[in-house]
Point group: none
Chain length 211, copies 4
DNA sequence: AATGAATGAGGATTCATTCAT
DNA sequence: AATGAATGAATCCTCATTCAT
């Protein structure tokens, strides 16, 4: 099948990506130290030697794997931002739903988070790059929307503006839950998102009795 | 010093705890797979053989270490709960501040969370026990306070009552941040807690103009 | 039970023997190298330390165990020899049946043989002592009976007189069989003994037609 | 020497056999448990890792070693059987001499027997395979010769026909002797074989006085 | 480009032996 | 006499890495 249809040259060009995809699965399943390059090779359909042809060390495989898996999300995010429209509370909701969808409910993204947490001490630059490329820009967009919403009178000038992460942090829980519990303890994510947004907009205090 | 002052029997009684304390430091620093029992032994001031006298395998050392480190917190929590008092929004704040204080700002607790995330797949019972002993009861207390507060008219009956975790989840961020960034990217936790609580009570919507 | 009936002093006197009995079972089951003194201790109902109180090293335990298990057979053999009586072919049969009974069909004796074969290179003096105390005397008695039988005209002066072991060697097979096959491949020992003795007396050649 | 003369591929093809030959020497000298794979490697001129490249565990090395050492004898035996000729008592003697020669006087075969006895409990399938491939067929040939000899009037119909092993069992002694005594207690094997065969044919009973 | 044989340092685990009590 | 905590050398096995082909 693939042998006749894809030229040898083309297959060669895809080798590194195939190895990194395989590496993602193995590292996600076992962590950095407990993953054997032998298993990565087997999963990628090559031999250990081939991995060393493309990557210098196991560390390098890990680093490039994180890069390889993360990169595609960036463009997607930019595109999404560009399309944001409508009233600011709708934009805010969109941003948050986007995070739930792309980060919390997406297995690949979740496992990357797991790896950043578990191996972050060994690869601090990876974590920092992630902040600069994903988290920072996301928070920045969030802040812009909230600021504009305040200006437009849709939001009040809450202290959370300065600590914008407090606004979306409930979404983190949906990211961590499956990392901790796997399939155990499932939750109704739709209801959770609604609860998050309701709390975000209205808080817990009872509405003052309108005159 | 210890040889003359402490009797052999006394030292023996303390050995397992000493080993588990050392194990915590090593596992927290390197993760399960990358930690060498030899280093745990050295840190505990014993030899490898001694570890195997008390624990059957490296896995067992890990499991018992988690248990050993976590246990003491339980009593503390129960005691805190018993002392909860005052208006319900104050109790709610107390609970949340308690979580920030004991979980987010405490290095040991944070590292336990890291280990549960990174090694949870290998030790699912540990994660589940943690839920049953810590997370579940904490959420339960939280729910009780909110329910009572609603009854008392201090809180509105928000949908978040059913998904109580949404209420305290911003605190998770303060738990994860140092796991990811170490000492880089510090944050003003006091301000963050205030923002969290403000959002919790008031939301982002502008207050309706009072009559 | 045993505590009240047996005095402590008496139990102490039996300790070494209990240890050696336990050692026999473990060494027989696993061989010298694969046996753990810890298991010997457990089986004997004492601790490792106690073994070292009575015996200097694992090697010593092994050596003394062989001695301890073998010794009792010697007296038995002497007693049996003294009672030998009747025509010489009957005495020969008795001797051979004795060997089958005490060596081939007795599990303990068989396992001692296994140990002498498997550990003989490590403990050559044990093997040699065994020859001097058991095999040599047994062959000597065999030779005496055959010689007397020749004198009495009951046996012919076959060359096997000088290599007396050829006479009883079929019995060895009954010793080795269970060492190799355990309970697999059982054999009718009674019939085997009869075949052995028939061959011994009559050989395979057809009887010359009597005048 | 070997590096320039033998190609890598050629050396590779011989590696497993070289390792198994080395394994034979070490296991024969020390038994299974007391043999260190490190020593096997050293003797084979490779490193520990190489052994594990070809064999999964120490057990596997042992099993394949037994196979590797035993196999070549099988063809030899078949060839010998095909060439059997002459009167039946001559064939019987040939068979028995063959056993003495190939099993009792051959160091390699003897040590395999030692290993089957000492490690048979751990590797019962090895013992059973040995019976099926070597012992069983050998006994079968023996029986055929004796049966044909009876038919031809060269042998009498002794009860030993049903327990054919009684006929060759004296040869076992020549197998076991060196296992137990090494070079101590040498024996004149030629004379022993003669005595064995004389007994086999004529027994111990005095010849009836011919008319 | 790719293979896979080979290495060797490293780490988990075992166990004979010691010794304070 | 007896215990059992403690040791540390020994040994199995793993795996990142190299390199001849």
């Amino acid at each position: 099948m693939s042998a006749p249809t894809r030229s040898r040259a083309r297959r060669k060009a895809e080798r590194p990506a195939e190895i990194l995809d395989a590496a993602f699965e193995e590292f996600a399943a076992n962590g950095f130290a407990a993953t054997r390059l032998e298993d990565v090779a087997k999963r990628a359909g090559v031999t250990k030697g081939t991995i060393y042809f493309y990557f210098q060390t196991k560390e390098r495989v890990f680093e490039e794997m994180i890069r390889h898996i993360s990169q595609p999300r960036l463009a997607e995010f930019d595109h999404f931002i560009a399309a944001l429209d409508g009233p600011f509370h709708a934009r805010l909701r969109s941003l948050i739903v986007f995070f739930y969808d792309r980060m919390a409910e997406n297995r690949v993204a979740r496992e990357i988070v797991r790896l950043l947490i578990s191996e972050g001490r060994r690869f601090p630059e990876l974590v920092d790059r992630h902040y600069e490329e994903f988290i920072g820009p996301f928070l920045e967009r969030l802040r812009e929307v909230v600021e504009a919403g305040i200006e437009a009178g849709e939001f009040r000038a809450a202290p959370s503006l300065d600590l914008i992460e407090v606004i979306f942090s409930p979404a983190l829980l949906m990211n961590l839950r499956p990392l901790l519990f796997g399939d155990r303890r499932p939750i109704d994510i739709g209801a959770y998102i609604d609860a998050h947004f309701d709390l975000l907009m209205n808080g817990l205090s009872p509405a003052p009795v309108a005159g």
